[in-house]
Subunit: 206 residues, 2 copies
DNA sequence: TAGTACAACAAACGATCGCTTGTTAGGAGG
DNA sequence: CCTCCTAACAAGCGATCGTTTGTTGTACTA
């Protein structure tokens, strides 16, 4: 529904001008773009779609972002930042036990991924597929910064020798991220899901 | 490179007419479309791209398919069929042990997913995201037929009571399918990867 | 050899795409 | 009061989109 019907942008949007700090409209654009990119994909989303969502004319977007591509990069960066912050906080609140710390990270990860956050779906590496290489590398670099977090958590795990830590991490992240394709809210809380998945791996390895 | 430079379609394509059974050109279209869809996405692929790849004018595609959407459905169906056939064959050649049968299925699954097959990337459920609902349901239905295979394999597994078979299957398929986002050919064979991943789950549970 | 079906070409349709340009309303600061 | 800056509007650019229509060369068939 949003505000499809209104032919001309309502003055309400206008009034916001310099009402607060300033980034308000830019943030609106980021969120609208994230929602669209997540549900319809980058190519499936037009500048006009996003403009309509925030109540603005298409051309006006180019005051805030120099190109559609720059908007994508900004959305991706914001998404990575939000998830990274959530995980960092959760881990810092956890105890010293390596498994507990990994579990806390997995819980925060899934909560961000499956929760209300509109940015997180854009953060998954699968989203990266299909972009040309200068852009693609930029996104992957942003994402790798986050994934490095899990590398260090897994490295501190007391695993039996012979277990590839890399394979373990990739398998675990695969299980977690894959929930995006089948999870339906309500059935089970994301944090519970995360704990159960860790359990699947933990039992045989500790 | 392909045949970008040739302005007019070379007569070579013409000669193929009724050379064999007949489906030859249609199959070419399916393969070209699959490659494009896999690398650039559905929205990122134009009818003109596909036409150029097979050496045909854009309008000519509509002799074989009534719409771009129908082409997508056909590509998806073909992909599911190919992977399903490979897995079915592998399992039938495996022994009676449930773990062996699951391992055989996982190996075939990954070989199809990461191998030369251009259809398989299109088959993953993540590809389904972003389509509207009549189309989306069609694709999911095709895909579910394949996934049912894994349901029955997991159900016959001797798992300790208390382990959710559904969660186990989703986690495993997640690990396997996620390889698409990070696997680079050459390092390790897909089948080896599949075995090692199963091993991650197997040890503690049997 | 005439007729028919096939598989493609050639050209264009209207719609939509990302983006550019020129303009304007309204606060902020001298 | 005047100026400047901000954040938008209004309009349209050329390119490309999926698709349609009419035509044509070729191969089978009677």
């Amino acid at each position: 529904m949003t505000n499809r019907g209104t032919r001309t942008a309502e003055p309400e949007a206008r009034r916001k001008t310099t009402a607060r700090g300033g980034d308000s409209r830019r943030q609106d654009l980021l969120e609208a773009a994230a929602r669209r990119f997540a549900s319809r994909g980058y190519e499936g989303t037009s500048i006009r779609d996003i403009a309509r969502d925030v109540g603005m004319l298409p051309g006006s977007i180019y005051y805030h972002f120099t190109s559609k591509e720059e908007l994508l990069v900004a959305v991706h960066k914001e998404g990575v930042l939000q998830v990274m912050e959530a995980v960092r906080k959760a881990v810092s609140k956890a105890g010293d036990d390596p498994w507990d710390r990994l579990t806390a990270a997995a819980e925060a990860h899934l909560e961000a991924l499956l929760g209300k956050n509109e940015f997180s779906p854009v953060v998954t590496p699968q989203f990266t597929r299909g972009f040309e290489d200068p852009l693609r590398s930029t996104l992957i670099a942003q994402r790798d910064e986050y994934e490095a977090f899990f590398v260090s958590l897994v490295n501190k795990l007391p695993l039996p020798s012979g277990t590839s830590r890399q394979l373990f991490r990739l398998a675990l992240l695969g299980s977690l991220n894959w929930t995006l394709t089948w999870y339906r809210p309500g059935r089970k809380k994301p944090a519970t899901l995360a704990r159960q998945m860790i359990g699947l791996y933990r039992k045989p390895l500790e």
